[in-house]
C-alpha cells in the first residue's frame, strides 16, 4: 500500500505544479485541439481512465467501488466513501494541406467525492468538473503596407482557455435491486478567454494583449437511472441499462473585450468598449447504454450519446450557431478481470480493457462533420483495499484536412485515482 500512496502523492504534486506553471504561462503544455476554438470550446468527456479504456461513456457501467460522473443513479449504490481525480496528457498533431503543428496538453479532469448516506441505498456526490474546454493555440503571421516603401510585419499568438464548468452536488437512490435513480443540480459557470498577443517586428509598435472574456452563471440539472437485471442467460450473468439526461443550460452571459495599455507609465488592463450581455444556451445531453456481465470476469458495454448542439444559441456570437450540429457518440468496449481468478501470475493482478468509439462531433464546417474515431486500451491497478488507479491509452483521428480544414491525430494518456474508504461506520466490535 505504501508504494500506492507514494505514486499517488507524486502524481498529485506533479500535476499541481504543472497546473500552477500553466496558470502563470510558464509551462507550454497547455494547448489542445484546434477545434476548441469554436463556441464555448470542445465538449469535454468527463470519463475516468477506466471508462476511457473501454471507449464508453460509463452510463451503464455498474460499479460499487469507484466513482463515476456519468450517471447520478449509481451514487445510491455506493458501499464506500470515495475520492477521485486524475489527469490527461495529450498530444495533438494538427495538419492542413500544407502545414503541421504539434500541441501538448496536460490537464486535470474531474474532482469528485461520494459518500454513502445509507449503505448501498442513498448516496451523495459532490464534484467539480468541466463541461467544455477551450485550449487551442494558433500563430498567424501577417503584414500590412501603410504607405509605399513601408511594411509592418506582425505575428498574432491566439490562445483559448477556460470553458464551462460545473460545481455539482447530487443524490443517488437505489430504490431496489433493479432500479436506481439520481438527480444532480449544479451551478454551471462560463469562464472562457481568448487571448490574442500581437508582436510587431518594427520598433515603435508595442506588443499588444487583447482578451475576449465570456463569463456567465446558470443553474443546471441532471437526472439518471440504472436498471439492473440478473440471471438472464445463466445464473451468474447480469445486465445493467443506464440512462442520463442533462437538461439545457441557459446562461446569462457577459462578454468583455479588454486590452493592456500603458497608461500614465503603468500597464493597465482596460475595457475596449462596454461589456455586452446576452444569453448563451447549452443544449440537452442524452446518454444511454447497456453493459452485460456474462460472468464476474468479463463485461461488455455498448453506449451512446446525443448532444443537441444544433440547438446551441449564443447572442454574443451568433455566427457560432451556424457551425454547430448534433453530436452523436457511440462506444463499444469490453473489460477483463483476471485478478478475480486468484492467480499468482503478475499479469493476473490487473484489469484489462479495450474499446472503440466514434463521435460525429459537434461542429459541421463547410458541410464536413468534425468527427473523431478513438481506439482505446485500459489497465486497472488494484490495491488490497478497494482503491484503484486506472490508466488508459487512446489514439484518435479527428476532422479532415480536405476543404482547407484541419485533421488532428491525438494521443492521450489518462490516469484516474480512486481512493475508497469505509467512513462513518461504527465498528460493531472494539
Amino acid at each position: 500500500m505504501e508504494i500506492f500512496k507514494t505514486i499517488i502523492i507524486i502524481l498529485v504534486l506533479g500535476l499541481a505544479s504543472q497546473q500552477a506553471l500553466a496558470q502563470q504561462g510558464i509551462s507550454e503544455n497547455n494547448n489542445g485541439s484546434f477545434y476548441s476554438l469554436f463556441g464555448l470550446g470542445q465538449p469535454f468527456d468527463n470519463n475516468t481512465a477506466r471508462e476511457n479504456g473501454l471507449g464508453i461513456l460509463g452510463v451503464s457501467l455498474d460499479n460499487l467501488q469507484s466513482n463515476t460522473l456519468q450517471n447520478p443513479a449509481m451514487w445510491g449504490k455506493n458501499l464506500y466513501s470515495t475520492a477521485s481525480s486524475g489527469f490527461r496528457i495529450s498530444q495533438f498533431t494538427a495538419e492542413d494541406q500544407t502545414r503541421e503543428s504539434i500541441n501538448a496538453l496536460l490537464e486535470s479532469t474531474n474532482l469528485q467525492f461520494t459518500f454513502p448516506l445509507y449503505n448501498q441505498k442513498l448516496g451523495l456526490s459532490a464534484s467539480l468538473y468541466p463541461v467544455t474546454k477551450s485550449n487551442f493555440r494558433v500563430f498567424s503571421t501577417n503584414s500590412e503596407i501603410p504607405a509605399a516603401g513601408d511594411t509592418v510585419n506582425y505575428i498574432s499568438d491566439i490562445k483559448g482557455s477556460g470553458g464551462v464548468n460545473k460545481l455539482e452536488v447530487g443524490l443517488g437512490w437505489n430504490i431496489n435491486r433493479n432500479i436506481a435513480v439520481g438527480y444532480a443540480p449544479s451551478l454551471a459557470f462560463i469562464t472562457k478567454n481568448n487571448t490574442e498577443t500581437t508582436f510587431f517586428q518594427q520598433s515603435g509598435y508595442g506588443t499588444n494583449n487583447l482578451d475576449r472574456k465570456i463569463t456567465g452563471l446558470a443553474l443546471a440539472h441532471r437526472f439518471g437511472t440504472l436498471l439492473s437485471f440478473g440471471g438472464l442467460f445463466n445464473s451468474n450473468d447480469r445486465l445493467s441499462i443506464g440512462a442520463a439526461v442533462a437538461l439545457p443550460i441557459e446562461f446569462d452571459a457577459k462578454r468583455e473585450i479588454s486590452v493592456t495599455k500603458d497608461i500614465s507609465n503603468q500597464e493597465q488592463e482596460v475595457l475596449l468598449r462596454d461589456p455586452e450581455q446576452g444569453t448563451v444556451k447549452l443544449p440537452v445531453e442524452l446518454n444511454a447504454g447497456l453493459t452485460y456481465y456474462p460472468s464476474s470476469l468479463v463485461n461488455i458495454s455498448v453506449e451512446g450519446q446525443l448532444q443537441k448542439w444544433s440547438e446551441f444559441e449564443s447572442e454574443l456570437n451568433p455566427s457560432d450557431e451556424l457551425l454547430m450540429s448534433d453530436r452523436y457518440r457511440m462506444g463499444l468496449g469490453a473489460e477483463y478481470h483476471p485478478y478475480r481468478l486468484n492467480s499468482t501470475s503478475f499479469l493476473s493482478n490487473f484489469r484489462y480493457s479495450g474499446g472503440l468509439s466514434y463521435d460525429t462531433g459537434h461542429l459541421t464546417i463547410d458541410n464536413r462533420d468534425i468527427d473523431t474515431f478513438w481506439m482505446s486500451l485500459g489497465l486497472g491497478v488494484l490495491s488490497r483495499s478497494a482503491s484503484t488507479i486506472d490508466l488508459s491509452f487512446q489514439y484518435g483521428l479527428r476532422g479532415t484536412n480536405s476543404n482547407m480544414l484541419v485533421r488532428e491525430k491525438i494521443w492521450t494518456f489518462s490516469l484516474s485515482i480512486n481512493l475508497t474508504e469505509r467512513m462513518f461506520v461504527r465498528p460493531k466490535l472494539n
Binding site: I3, R99, N142, G204, L210, V270, W411
Partner: protein, 402 residues
Amino acid sequence: MSSTHKGLAAFCIPLLTLLILFTGCEAPGSVGGDFVDKSELTFDTLSISNIQPQSYNGYTGRLTFVTMGNYSDPVFGDIEARALLKPTRSTSMPEGELLDSDEYSMQLQLVMDSLSTSGDTLSPANYSVYEVTSQWNGSTFRLDSELSYNETNLVGSFSITNEDTVTVDLSDEWKNTFAGYLQNDAPDADSVYQYEFRGLALVADDGAGKLSFPRMASSRFLAINTEDPDTTNFSVRDWAYNLNRTGETTQSDVSALHNTVEGMLLLNIEGLIEEFEDNNLIRAEIVFYEAIDELEGLPANHVRRTVNSIGMDIGVEEDPAYDFQFGALEATGSRNSSDGSFRINITNYINNTIYGTEDRTDLYIGIGSNTGDLKSALIYNQNAPENLLPKLIITSLTDDEE
C-alpha cells in the same frame, strides 16, 4: 513490498519518464489560422487643420553654447546675435602675484563647436569686443533682453573662419578693471562684482555672414604672465546672447520652428481622436513634412544647420518658454531623411486621454532646446498641399466585433 507492487513500480517509472518526454515535444504553428477571428491592422490617416503659430521669448543664458554673429538667411530672416561673457572671480592668482601688474595680460579663448556653423563657411567673420554697460543675469536673459555696451571703448577684436579655437587679446584697461574686482577682499566683494562688473559683449561687424557657437564649458579667460610663462585660467561665470531676427519670409503653407521658441505650433486634435475611442489603438503618430524645396537656394559655400528632431509638449505652464526649453518633452520625432518627415509617436498621450485622466488638449510642436546653438526648421502647415499636410496616423488592431 509485494511482487505486484514491485512490478507496478517498474512499470510506472519508465511510463512517467516517457510521458515527460512525450509532452516536451511541442511545436505550435499556424495550422487553422485561417479560421481564427484575429485582429487586423488598420491605418487611418487624418489631416490636422487646427494649427496655430505661436511665438515665445526664449531663454538664451547659461546654455551649452552661445550664438554670435550676423547672417541674412533667405528664409529665416536677418539674424543678429551678440554674445555676453563674464569671467569668474573665484579663481585666485598665483601666490604674491597681482593681475593688474604690467607683466600680466588677458585673453579670451573661445572654443567653437567646429561642426556647427550657419552661413558662409569660407569668408571670415570679424568681431569687436566691448564692455557691457547694461545690467544682465544669464539665468534670466532672454532673446530680447536689453543689451548695451560701450562702443567707444574697444576691448578687443577677432576674426573667425573655420577655427576650432579663437584667442582674443583683451585690453589692459579692461584687464585692470577686472583685476580691481578680483583683488577686492571686502566682505561684499562678490556681490559688488555681480552687480557692477558687466562683462564683455562680442559683436559681429556688419556683413559678417556667419553664425558661430562657442562652447561655454570649454571657453575661458586667460591671465598670462608674459615674463614668467605662466597662465591662470578663469572660467566663464555667466553668459548669454541677445538675438534680433527681422525679415523672415516664409510662405503661407509653411511655418518656421526655431529652437529659441520664437517659432512653434499649437495643435488641437481632440476632435480627431474622438472617433477612435473604441479602437484597440496600437500606435498614434503625428507627421510633419519638412519644406525641403523651400530651403534650397542658399548661396554657394553657405550652410544651414539641420534639425534632426522636433518635440511635442502638452499644455502651457506659467512660463511656456522655460517649459519648452528646459522641461521634459512629452514626445519627440526624428527626421526621416527618406521622405523629409518628422514623426512624433503620441500613443501614450492618446492612451492617457482615452483611458486615463489626461485632459489637456493643446499640443505644442517645436524644437525648443537648452543647447543655445541657433537652429531652425521649416515645415508644411495646414495650408500645404494635401500630400504634405500635417497628419495624424492612427494604427489600430480591429477585431471582428467592430
